[in-house]
Structure formats: C-alpha cells, structure tokens
C-alpha cells in the first residue's frame, strides 16, 4: 500500500497482519451464524495473497497519459505486471485547481482529504498497455503505393536498421542544405521539448504539435482579450457558472473538473450551459440553452449589450484595468437580444435574463472551449465571450477566470550550430507567421493544402510523426492522406498501427505512458508538477520515443553551437552518458533544476506521490502585483518607466525576452500581457493587422456568420464532441473502454427524425458535399432540432482489430479547413443531409 512516510523518505508498506484472510474466514465460522443461515467460510488463498495482494509488489507514483490531462496515478506492479491503477492522492490535478481547496485536510501521509480520483480512461490504461494489437517491432514498407486500400506489406526490421536508414535519409537532407524540408508532428503534452530540440539542432523550423487541432482558437481569443492563453475557471468558489460549448464533467480535460463543478452546485452555484447538445455537463446544469452552432459570439455580444444598457458592468475594474470600453459599448449598442435571437435561435428573453443573472450574481464565471472554437468565426466569438468576463470584473478574482501560474520544468533552449542555423532561418512551411494569433503548434491544415497543391515556400521531403494520428484527426481525412503520401519518406512512431501509420515508410513501436518518463506541469492555478515514470520496462524492448530521438541525434552527430554533441553529453552533468535512458534522466533533471522546483529527478521521485506542489498556493488579482525591484533592475523597458503603457520584459526582445509587466498608473505592475498591458475591448494594434487570408483583423470582437451554412441541399448542422469514455481517435481499440462506449450513435432530434422517417436505431446515411458515412441513429431531444452530432473518434479503418468498423467517422465529410487568425482546425463546421440507409 502506498502511503507516504517522510522518515523513510519515500513510501512504505502498511503491514496488514499476515493471515488476515484466515482471520476473516474464521470470523465467518465463529458460530454466530443464526439458525437457517447459509453462511459458511469461503477459503482464502494465502499464497495468492502473499504473491498478488495489495502488499505484494510495488506501488509506483506516476502520471496518466490516456489523454492530455496528466492526472496523478499510483500503479501497482506485481511480478513485473501492472495489476491495477489507482488515483494519486497527492496530485492536485486529481482533486482541485484551487490551492486552499486542495490543502484543506491534506496530509503528507495520505494526501488530499477526500482522496483523488481518476476517470474511466485512467482506469483502463492497463488495456492500452497490454493491447495485443500493439506495434511490437520496427517495420518497413515494401509497397511503394500509399493509400487507404494499399497494404504497406510490412517487412519487420531491427531497430538498428531502422535508425540507420532513417538517419541516412535525414543526413542526406541536411548535407544538401535542406534540413528545413523535414516536417515534424507530435502530441502536445509528451516529450515535446526534446523533439523541439532535435528540430532546432537538425535545422528544421517545422516542429508542430497537436494543439492546432484542439483549442488554439480559445488560446487566441483569450490572448487577444486578456493576454494569457489559458485562464482557468475557478468553479468551486463561483456562484454562477456560464459555459459556452464546453463539457467539463464528461470531456474531462482535468479529472478535478467533475468534483469542482458538482461541488460548486452543491454550494449554491447556478450552472447554465449554452450548447447545441444537452451534454453530460448540461445534464448537471440548472439550465440548458440550445443554440445554433457557431453563433455563440452573437449571444455574448447581446449579453454585453444588456449588461451595459442596464449599467451592470464593473465600472471600477473597467476604468482601471481595461482599454477600449467606449468603442466596444458603441459596437454592441445595436447588438440587441432580438438581433442575437434571430442568429442564435435563443429566445430574446433568455438572453436578457442570463445576461442580468450573470452580471448580478457574484462571483460569476464564464468560459468556453472547443465547441464554439472549431468554427471559422470561433476566435472572435470566443473573444466576445472572454470580454463578458472583463465586463463583470471576472478575471483573477476568486470564483472567476484565473490567470494561470504554470511554472514547472523549464525548457532549456538549445543553441543550434551554424549548419542548423542556416536552414532554421527558413520560413516555416505552414507560414505560421501569416496567422496573427497563430500558436507555436503550427497550422496542420495549411501544410496539407500546400503539400497537395505543391505550393508553399519549398517542397518538404520527410515527415516525422510521433504519437499522432494525423489522418483520423482531420478535418478532411482523405485530403490529409493524399498530402502525406506526397512525402518522400514518412516515419511514424505509434503504439498502434493507426490510419497514419498505414501510410508510413517506417513504422516504429511507441511506448504507452506506463513505459516511459515525462514531466507534467499541471493545469491548476498555482505551480505543481507531477512525474511520469516507467513502471514497467517497454514490453517489446522498444526504445521510448525520447530515446529514439536521442539515438537519431547521436547517429546524425548533432551538435550545439559550442560543438557539444548534444545527445551524448548530459545537459546537467555535462558528462558523456552512454545509456539513452540515463541521458534522458539527466535531461529531465536539468529542466527541473532550472525550473521552478529546483530539484533533481531523483529528488522529485522521493516527494509524496512524486509530485512537486508549490506551497505558495493560488494567488488572486495578480495583474495588480508590482514588479519586484530586483527584477526591474535587469528588466528591459520598452519605452520608459515614467510613461504609462510601457511594456516591461525580463530581458531584451532580441534575447527572447518574456513580457513580465507594464507601467500602469505610474507603477510597474504585472497587468495583462496585451499590447496595452490591460484587457482590450478594442485593440488599436489589431486594426493594423491582416489575417492569413490577407483580410484586416477586426479590432473589435465583431460577429460574422461562419462560412459554411446549411442550405436547401444540406440543411443540417453536423457537430461532434468528446466524452469521458474515449480520447480523440486513440482509444477505440481499448477493450474496457469499448465496453462502456462501443460506438458513437448520431444524435438526432425527434422532430428531425420524424420528418425524415428515421427511427431510433436505424442506420442512416450522413452526406455532405465532400463525402458520406453511415451511422446509427439515436433519436433524442438532447439536441437542437437543426443539428445532428456524435462523439468524435470512431469510424476507424485501422488502429486495431476491435476498433475497425466500430461507430461512425465524420472526418471525410469535411475538407481541410482552418481559421485565418489562429490556424485552428475547423472540425465542427460541416453541413449535412440524412437519409435512411
């Protein structure tokens, strides 16, 4: 049993008296059974208990990676096998995002008062680890043709051969001065830093990751409004929770969400969910507001209209901490609830009432995620929602949207050598800099488009895809396949033979999170960092992804600017380390020592639950924090300290200086990391910007209808969502998860179904202008009558034997689409028609 004991320095086993089972059995035999009772002893297996019981083997603290949530876990490993995975009670990610709530009743010995929790996916990690369909050895394609119906005709090869051949191709590229023609895609939470380092040292600017398929539009919305990419909702202290298209109790991004949301309701908060679908979160809400997809921004503007008209805005906060309010007020003057009602389908009175409730209940929190975000007008819509919070002073105060304080491990940037620098200075292939609010994760859609058209600044030759299923992730699966097939060489590292792996020239077996390391700085509101560590050796003797990257780096002899062979010398110890795992441990230690924890990897392992938690806790109104004098001394001031609005950086911008504050009211304070240092209702800077299509950026959160609208031919909106049962397109082969969610029926409103003669359980054809798919109908009033939708992730034609043919995939009903401000993939902007199959 894992219980933390500071005296031992790590964990100890609670000794349950041997023969406990026998005692229990004896109790049953003890003669207290009444007349007529059937009670008798059930014999226990003493040997089994000793060998496999909770006191046998080891409980190893780690972090989950069944999704990107990174909850803490305790893994019971007995005889080299993972027997069980349980919640890690020391990790705030499993409990609360507010420190006072987390520490209430917390003890070093047992962790949180009520114990943590893990979601169904976290519990089902065992089935991911022991999935018999996993890729077990490196494989090389022998069929030169690529496509959905082209069998790769794999040839099993050794790791040595795989690394040799891949490195040879990469070396040729680099020697020819074409290192930038390497495109690299990765997941966005796992071993990202070392992959970015590899790209830098190799000389490719084209390192990209998953986020642009997920929530970069939300990131852009908040960045525009208040300067941070990911404020976090403080539900538990809130009294009014208004969600636009977010399903936190089911699309459990962080496993503390169900607890803090239901607990908030218990403490008297009202939950209102605006969503075309009555999500599982809406099922816990007091009110569900069905809305037309992609119109959330209009509703938010009308709410702002009401709040300002009624004079309910937080005038003091607006005066002190925002700019451009008057321009905004002028803009929303005619954005009446009647105007929005026409667009959104939400009754006028409902909009007015919710606006007043939201502005008069304190504290209130409003938040949004990928529902409204994955439409072509998602960024400005999200910005309108973000500004609702600004109107009510709803930033960084208890019960509102909090500015994250996510100090954890530090990515110690590598200095590329001369060769690498030459190609690094090339433009990114996706033209990321064209996107005024683009994210470092890149723009996948732009890459596919350019690959297909043969346009762009150059023609990439090699693709490296690690722990991503680009094809199934869409939008526009068929187009992505076509684009990837254009590359001279595609390398895929994955645990499963995914739809993307099917197109690979080399397929290498990846690791499940239980077989590898990582550092996870958690998305709670104060600094916390959890360790992921290998609890079992990689099952097939395969290299962990970071070891593969390091091995490749060694083969290529990649060096830093000072000539150090980066992948051979420990970044912290500065000594050569031959063992790849040991080298990576040193790499992680370096990130910890240079980061907020300032401890080594070994020291992190010894902390309770292997999680470092900053004792400082959640802090509020951080925007008013003065910049400490010692920081000011070395800071770079863009302007002068006497002038209001001068931006303050920790070092010159040319040295990658980070914004740390602004001069406001004659004082150097943190403020908000926007151009003005304040929340911006109107942004003068945006007025001079152009988006990726060359169109001017609206300096106000202007509502424009999304591009693809229903018409006579395709009259229905098609949306998709996430649920607790599966992660993206990754887990549909997981035996236990398939048990709780074997397929993803298409949810249809009874009125729509009746009109089309569709009954519950019927198979229907779902057709768009790009393609069609067959789905099983689920007729329920849980959805807006003009909308149909389903859980995302099903409809595999590869991945594993149990995933194939399960449920419906909708990726072929869309085409490549991304928004021109942030590069967000537009998964939810589809219109369809239905007919009974």
């Amino acid at each position: 049993m894992y219980v933390y004991d500071s005296k031992v320095g790590r964990r100890r086993f609670i000794q349950v008296a041997a023969g406990a089972a026998a005692a229990a059995g004896a109790a049953a035999l003890s003669g207290c059974a009444s007349v007529g009772s059937k009670e008798h002893a059930i014999a226990a297996n003493e040997q089994g208990l000793a060998e496999w019981g909770r006191e046998a083997g080891e409980w190893i603290p780690s972090c989950c990676n069944m999704c990107g949530g990174q909850s803490g876990i305790l893994v019971h490993v007995v005889n080299g096998v993972v027997e069980k995975i349980e919640p890690n009670n020391w990790n705030p990610n499993n409990y609360s995002n507010i420190s006072t709530d987390f520490f209430q009743g917390y003890t070093e010995e047992y962790g949180t008062a009520e114990g943590g929790c893990i979601c169904p996916k976290g519990n089902a990690g065992i089935m991911q680890l022991y999935d018999p369909d996993r890729v077990k050895s490196p494989m090389k394609r022998t069929n030169p043709r690529k496509g959905r119906s082209e069998d790769p005709r794999w040839q099993t090869i050794t790791w040595e051969q795989a690394i040799e051949e891949i490195a040879a191709k990469l070396k040729a590229l680099r020697d020819a001065g074409e290192a930038h023609k390497l495109l690299w895609w990765s997941e966005d939470h796992s071993f990202t830093h070392i992959q970015a380092d590899f790209c830098t040292l190799f000389g490719s600017p084209n390192y990209s990751m998953h986020s642009n398929l997920c929530d970069v539009s939300r990131k852009a919305s908040f960045k525009m409004a208040m300067g941070d990419e990911r404020p976090l909702a403080d539900f538990i202290q809130s009294k009014y929770i208004l969600l636009f298209g977010w399903n936190p109790t089911s699309a459990i991004k962080w496993v503390y969400l169900p607890r803090i949301l239901t607990r908030a309701i218990e403490r008297g908060a009202r939950l209102v969910v605006v969503d075309p679908y009555l999500s599982d979160t809406a099922a816990k809400g007091h009110e569900w507001v069905p809305i037309r997809p992609g119109t959330d921004g209009a509703m938010a503007l009308a709410m702002a209209h009401v709040i300002i008209k009624e004079g309910l805005q937080d005038k003091e906060f607006i005066e002190r901490w925002t700019v451009g309010f008057d321009r905004f007020a002028e803009y929303v003057a005619d954005k009446t609830p009647a105007w929005a009602s026409e667009i959104t389908g939400v009754p006028t009175e409902t909009i007015s009432r919710i606006a007043i409730e939201f502005a008069t209940t304190k504290p209130a929190v409003v938040d949004t995620w990928s529902g409204p975000g994955q439409h072509s007008n998602g960024v400005q819509g999200g910005r309108a929602i973000a500004l609702l919070a600004a109107l009510t002073g709803g930033y960084d105060r208890p019960g509102t949207l909090l500015i994250p304080d996510k100090r954890g491990n530090k990515h110690v940037e590598v200095e590329p050598d001369k060769t690498a620098s030459q190609t690094l200075s090339q433009e990114r292939y996706d033209g990321l800099s064209d996107f005024p609010f683009g994210h470092k994760s890149g723009v996948y859609g732009r890459m596919w488009e350019r690959l297909l058209e043969g346009k762009g600044p150059y023609q990439p030759k090699v693709g490296m895809c690690i722990f991503q299923n680009l094809v199934m992730s869409g939008p526009g699966c068929a187009k992505v396949e076509e684009a990837l097939a254009k590359l001279e060489m595609l390398v895929v590292v994955d645990t499963m033979e995914s739809e993307t792996a099917w197109l690979a020239d080399y397929l290498l077996p990846g690791t499940v999170y239980l077989e590898r390391y990582d550092l996870n700085s958690h998305w709670v509101t104060w600094p916390a960092l959890g360790l992921r560590q290998p609890v079992v050796k990689p099952l097939f003797g395969q290299l962990a992804e970071y070891e593969f990257v390091a091995a490749l780096g060694r083969k290529l002899g990649l060096k830093t600017a000072d000539g150090t062979p980066f992948f051979e010398v420990g970044p912290l110890s500065r000594k050569p380390i031959e063992n790849l795992t040991a080298w990576y441990e040193d790499y992680l230690s370096n990130e910890l020592v240079n980061g907020a924890p300032k401890i080594t990897l070994d020291e992190l392992k010894k902390l309770p639950g292997a999680v470092w938690v900053d004792k400082g806790g959640t802090r509020y109104e951080k925007y008013a924090d003065p910049i400490p004098l010692e920081k000011l001394k070395t800071a770079f001031i863009d302007g002068d300290l006497q002038r209001d609005g001068s931006a303050i950086y920790d070092k010159p911008k040319s040295e990658h200086g980070k914004r740390i504050g602004t001069v406001i009211g004659g004082r150097a304070v943190r403020g908000f990391f926007t151009p003005s240092g304040k929340i911006e209702f109107y942004s003068p800077k945006m007025a001079s910007m152009k988006d990726a299509m060359g169109e001017p950026v609206d300096p106000l959160p202007v509502y424009k209808p999304r591009v693809w609208q229903p018409d006579q031919e395709y009259p229905l909106f098609l949306i998709n969502w996430k649920e607790a049962s599966h992660t993206h397109t990754r887990t549909q082969n997981n035996a236990w998860l398939n048990d709780i969610k074997p397929e993803n029926p298409l949810v249809i409103h009874p009125a729509t179904a009746q009109r089309l003669g569709i009954s519950d359980g019927d198979m229907v054809w779902v057709e768009s202008r790009y393609g069609k798919t067959k789905a099983k109908a689920k007729v329920t009033a849980r959805i807006h009558p003009e909308v149909v939708g389903a859980q995302h992730g099903f409809g595999h034609w590869k991945l594993g034997r149990r995933a194939v043919g399960r449920g419906a995939g909708f990726g072929d009903l869309n085409t490549i689409a991304y928004d021109p401000l942030s590069g967000q993939g537009l998964h939810k902007e589809v219109c369809v028609r239905l007919r009974k199959a």
Binding site: E39, A43, P120, M127, D280, A724
Partner: protein
C-alpha cells in the same frame, strides 16, 4: 409509523428549485413506481440497527452500505472500469453499471445519472432461492457473497434479484487475457482467492456480483479509505458521488448523509431493504 413521505421531504428541501423537485419526483415515479407515495424517507441510526437485528436475528456488528449522491454523479463510468480493474471481471460481467435514464416528463430528454452496484439487501431474495447455499449474506457485515466452489451456475438467483445486480460468467475474455499477454497471469483478488481465468474453472460458469471489494477488509473486517482499502468504484468516483461505510456507525459518512439528506431506495415496496441509498 407515521413517516414523512419523499414528497414532504423534497417539499421542505430549501436547496431545490420547484423544477428540480418536480424532476426528482418524476424520477422516483419511474424507479419506484406505485410505491412513491408510500416510500418512506430513510431514517438513519436506530431504524437501521432495528432492521439489522430483525433481519439477522442477531446483533449485527457492521452493516456496510452505500449512499450514492445523484447530484454528484456525472455519468462518467469510471466506477464501472475501476471495478473491472479491481476484480478482473470478464466481458458481460459488471458489478456496477451506470444508468442515464431520461427524467420524464421533460421536453429535452435530460438524463439523470446513477451508478448501481449490488444493494446487499437486508432481505436478499437471491439468497433464498439458491439450491446449494452458494450465496449468502454475511452476518458480521451484511455483505452478500457467492461461494464459487458451491455455485452450480443455475442462475435462479439472477432471476430472483429485482435489481439485475447479478451476472453470469460465460467464459468470455478481454483480448489481453484471451491472447495470453503478461496481463493474463494476473489473478482476481476476489474473496482473497486469487483465481486465474481458466476454461471450465470457477468463476467461469458461476454467477458473480458486487461484494463491496470484500477482499480489501483487514482482519477486523474494516476498510480504510486513506490507505486505499476501499471499494474500487467509490475510490475512483470523479464526482465523489459514491459514499461507502458502516451504516450503523454514527460517525460514518453514510450515516451522516442519511441523517441530513433525503434518501430513497429502489423498489422499496418489495421489502428487500436495500443497503444502497440514493440521495436526491
């Protein structure tokens, strides 16, 4: 005894809006049918002790039970999988399931989530019908168990259970077990018997059910939540909706909740006296 009805209690609960009150009554209508009007609001403490004595004909040491908060259950089904992970149950065997029945009459088909393990009834109909005395209710703590070595797989108990809480092991296996990966060597800790899956060997061909993770009790018959010796479903519950403990212990969470909140049991009219309560 003139006990207040659920309607009375719901009427008096200040935290409920009129709409919610109506919804909950509607839900009750669905679940407990005609018994709604007569369904007593559960009174903790003395009543429980009296019932225990009446049921067992002896002074009960403990009475383990669950109090499940429907307001906290988010329908995620972590409990279903945690139970599988703990007890290594095969496909088709679920010691707990999650309902998401629609609350009627509503125009928007809003579901109400609730997890449903075995209720470990005071008067378990399943026990009475077993022809070989394989299933019985433990006197010391009220847990209803199955002795796999006695069970002949006749499944009378399954038909007798009014709550569909029993499952037959048809010898199906999940892929990692079926295809003999390293995980296939992991035995189930149930009843501390540590059985491995094998053709024709118990519990294959037996009836199986929730036993409140009995194997996690210590030698004194006690669980310990802080140390992780706690029913797997309750330990992982993302909404912290599943409360477990000794219903006879006034210091327990479950006892307190039954004192403070409105609780109902399903199909109260059958007189089975379930030891699993639902908070509304």
């Amino acid at each position: 005894m003139n006990r207040p009805t659920v309607e009375d209690q719901l009427e008096r609960d200040p935290s409920l809006s009129p709409m919610e009150r109506r919804e909950m009554l509607a839900l009750l209508g669905k679940w407990v049918g005609a018994a709604v009007a007569g369904a007593g609001v559960f009174r903790a403490g003395e009543a429980l002790a009296q019932q225990s004595e009446a049921a067992a004909g002896t002074k009960r040491k403990r009475r383990y039970g669950m109090v499940i908060d429907t307001r906290r259950c988010v329908g995620c089904r972590a409990c279903v999988i945690a139970c599988k992970a703990e007890n290594k149950t095969p496909p088709g065997v679920y010691y707990t399931v999650v309902f998401d029945h629609v609350i009627e009459p509503r125009i928007d088909d809003k579901p109400l989530f609730m997890t449903k393990p075995c209720f470990h009834c005071e008067h378990p109909p399943c026990v009475d019908v077993c022809p070989v005395s394989a299933t019985f209710k433990r006197e010391q703590d009220g847990i209803v168990v199955v002795d796999y070595d006695r069970c002949i797989g006749c499944r009378y108990c399954m038909t007798a259970c009014p709550y569909s809480a029993r499952w037959f092991d048809f010898d199906e296996n999940y892929a990692p077990v079926e295809e003999n990966t390293a995980y296939a060597s992991v035995p189930s800790p149930e009843y501390r018997q540590f059985r491995r899956r094998a053709k024709g060997r118990s519990p294959v061909g037996n009836v199986r059910k929730c036993h409140f993770c009995l194997h996690l009790q210590d030698e004194n018959g006690e669980y310990n939540k802080a140390e992780g010796r706690w029913p797997a479903c309750a330990k992982t519950c993302t909404g912290h909706a599943i409360h477990f403990g000794d219903l006879l212990d006034p210091a327990s969470d479950v006892h307190r909740l039954l004192r403070e909140r409105v609780a109902v049991r399903l199909k109260e009219e059958l007189g089975t006296e379930p030891n699993v309560f639902y908070l509304l």
